[in-house]
Symmetry: C2
Subunit: 271 residues, 2 copies
C-alpha cells in the first residue's frame, strides 16, 4: 500500500523532481507488532538527509500518521519512505517554493532464508566501483544507479549481497547494507566521507559497542583488511545482522562478536 502525501494512491506526479533528477532521499525500516523499529533514529536521519540536499523535511507527525495507518493494515511489514523536492518546471534549479512529496509504502517482510542469520551469507565482490562524491556521501539519496548496476552483476539466489569498493579500491559497503569487520575484538567499519550510505543501524551498532566496552574504529578499509578480519558482518534496518560466511574464495565461521552484536540489536528495539 502506498500513501502519497498522506492519501492512498499509486500515483506520483509525472513532473516530480524525484523522478526527473533523483532529487530526494529515502529510508527503509521495519514495522514490528505495529511499531516502527528505531523510529527516532530514522526520523533524525530523514531530517538530516533532507537538510543535506536542501529539501524542507515534512513534519514528523505527518510521517507518524502515515506509519500508523500502514501499521493498522499490516502490523509487521517493511516501510519505505521517500521524500522528494516535489514537482517543478523543467530545469535543475530547485523551485523557490517547492512543496516536498512524501511517499510512504508498506511491503511484505522479505523472504530471506532464516538460515542466513544463523550460518551467514555468501557475498559477491562487485566489479563496479563507487564514485567518490564527498558532497553526497553518507546521504541516502535517490541517485542509486550505481547500486542498481552493481546488483545486476549477479542473479544467483544463494548470493545475498554484493560488496562495493570505491574508485580508490577502498571497501565501502554492500549494495543495501553497511559492513563491519571484527579485528582483535574491535569493530571496524569503513569511513564514509567519500561515498556510501551511513545507515541508522551502523550508527546504532557503533553506539552499542561503545556502551558495552567494545572498541570501534571508523577508518579506511582495504580488501586486504577485510580478508584479514576475524569476522565480517552486514547490517541494515531490515535484515539486522547477517554474518558473512563467504566472500568469493574466503570463508569465515560465524564468530562470537557477530553473534553478540546481533543480540544487542535484538534487544534495542526502542532505540
Amino acid at each position: 500500500m502506498n500513501l502519497v502525501n498522506g492519501a492512498a494512491s499509486d500515483a506520483a506526479s509525472a513532473t516530480d523532481r524525484g523522478l526527473a533528477y533523483g532529487d530526494g532521499i529515502f529510508r527503509t525500516l521495519l514495522i514490528r507488532a505495529g511499531r516502527p523499529v528505531w523510529w527516532r533514529r530514522h526520523a533524525a536521519k530523514l531530517a538530516s538527509d533532507c537538510a543535506a540536499v536542501g529539501i524542507a523535511c515534512p513534519r514528523l507527525d505527518q510521517f507518524e500518521r502515515d506509519l500508523g495507518a500502514l501499521a493498522r493494515e499490516t502490523p509487521d511489514c517493511v516501510i519505505k519512505i521517500i521524500v522528494t523536492r516535489g514537482s517543478g518546471p523543467r530545469g535543475y534549479a530547485p523551485p523557490v517554493n517547492a512543496s516536498p512529496t512524501r511517499i510512504v509504502t508498506s511491503s511484505p517482510l522479505p523472504a530471506h532464508p532464516r538460515d542466513w542469520h544463523e550460518h551467514g551469507v555468501h557475498v559477491h565482490l562487485c566489479r563496479l566501483r563507487l564514485a567518490r562524491q564527498p558532497v553526497l556521501a553518507g546521504i541516502k539519496h535517490l541517485n542509486r544507479l550505481e547500486q542498481v548496476l552493481a546488483r545486476a552483476e549477479w542473479n544467483d539466489p544463494a548470493v545475498a549481497e554484493g560488496l562495493l569498493c570505491d574508485t580508490g579500491d577502498l571497501v565501502i559497503g554492500g549494495t543495501m547494507t553497511n559492513v563491519v569487520l571484527v579485528r582483535q575484538g574491535a569493530l571496524v567499519t569503513p569511513d564514509l566521507t567519500s561515498c556510501g550510505v551511513a545507515g541508522v543501524t551502523r550508527g546504532l551498532v557503533l553506539e552499542l559497542a561503545r556502551e558495552n566496552g567494545v572498541a570501534t574504529h571508523v577508518q579506511a578499509v582495504s580488501i586486504d583488511d577485510l580478508l584479514g578480519s576475524d569476522e565480517v558482518f552486514l547490517i541494515n534496518s531490515v535484515i539486522g545482522v547477517w554474518p558473512v560466511a563467504k566472500l568469493d574464495c574466503r570463508t569465515w565461521p560465524v564468530g562470537p562478536v557477530t553473534a553478540q552484536v546481533r543480540k544487542w540489536l535484538q534487544s534495542a528495539d526502542d532505540r
Copy 2:
C-alpha cells in the same frame, strides 16, 4: 502536456524505479514548426543510453507517435523524454520482466534573453566537483543530484549557466550544456570518459567542424586551458550556442569561430 506510455496523464507510478533510484535516462530537444530537431541523433542516443544501463528502449515509432501528438498541440516547444526501467518491487535488483516507462512532456520554449546568443553569457564556476564514475560517464541518466546542487549555487538571473570541474579539477561542462574551447582555430572539448554528459549537440558540432576542415580535440581540459582560450562557448539541443562572455573575472569578446559554429548548427536542422 505529459504523455505517459502514450496516454495523456500527469501521473507516474509511485513505485516506478525512475523515482525510487533514478533508474532511467532522459533527453531534451526542440520541436520547431512541428518537427523534432536532430531527431535521428536523439533517437540514437536514447537507444545507446538505454543499452548502457540495461533498459529495453521503447520502439522508435512509439516516441514518434508521442512527438507527433505534442507537436500538433504546440508546434514550437521543448520536449523532454524520460525512459525508466518501469515499476518493480522494493530492492535494487532490476526486475527480470521490467516494462519500461516512457514519459514525454512538452514545455514552452525557454525565455532566455535573446541577447545571450549575440553578446554571450555570464557563467559561474561551481564549487561542487563532479564525481568520477566511468561506468555512467557520457550517459544522460536520471541521477542528477550533482547538477541540482550545482545549479543551487547561484540565483542571479544574469548568470546563465554554471561550469563544473570534476574531483580532479578538470573542466567537464555546464550543468545543462557541453563546453567547447577555441584555441588557435581548433575546437577543444573535454574528454567525458570519467564524468559528464556527451550531448547530441556536442557530437554534431564535432562532426560539422571536421566536415568544414576545422581541427577538433577531445581531451583533458584544465581551468588554465579554459582561461587561456581564444573563445569559449556552451551548447545544447535547446539553446544551440551561447558564447561565454564572462567566467568569474575573465571576459571574452564573441569570437568568429563561435559565430561560425552557430551558423553551422542553424543550417543543420535535418541532421
